[in-house]
Symmetry: C2
Subunit: 127 residues, 2 copies
């Protein structure tokens, strides 16, 4: 399976999770390739709107580019949504941008950091 | 150009319009084919969120299926967004569902009705 297909499968899984919990959720078309900033997923309920950059990894570490994070913040600010990084290390973890480590050109999410600072799906939708 | 490509081009045009006016806006991946309800476009700013079903026609009349409208309403209710029908008859017109005519199996938007009841883009984003 290609890297792109794996990414789409992870996004679909998350869209299912939200819908099965009575949130509206969609995958964004052409995210990352659009000329305008966009996240991978948008989810909302009566009171909250989440813009989500979505990653999946079999290793206990995942990198995000500075551009991905900047785009997520820019879109969230324009659209009126909370920016979240979702990383699936077997389980899904949801992190705020201030909780992931920034290096010179990228951001790093480790499994350790995700367990320490991240929310599980049930926590994300309840808080 | 295929009917699908024409639809996507119309959606892209609308996404550009919103972005050029400082709204966040995205096209929804696989809208109409997803197992969960979804609109064609989501647009938002600091205070409003719009879920939009998007149509384009060279004729002065356009039909929407009952399913399309039902899905739009269901999604909008779950996500927390205003439901809108956007129809491009040369210009874009934005209509509320209560302002389009329902027949037994479908909804009809005529150019006449769009001019009478619809908002232009500049009106939509200002009101």
């Amino acid at each position: 399976m290609s890297r792109k297909s794996k990414g789409i499968n992870a996004e679909r899984e998350l869209v299912h999770l939200f819908n099965n919990n009575s949130w509206g959720a969609i995958r964004v078309a052409g995210s990352g390739s659009s000329q305008f900033p966009s996240p991978d997923i948008l989810a909302g309920n009566k009171v909250r709107r989440l813009a989500i950059e979505c990653k999946s990894s079999k290793k206990p570490v995942k990198y995000l580019t500075k551009e991905e994070v900047d785009e997520l913040l820019l879109f969230s600010n324009m659209f009126g949504a909370e920016p979240w990084i979702a990383v699936r290390f077997k389980e899904w973890y949801f992190l705020n941008i201030e909780d992931i480590k920034q290096t010179e050109k990228s951001y790093v999410v480790t499994l350790e950091k995700a367990k320490q600072k991240g929310l599980l799906f049930e926590e994300l939708i309840k808080y």
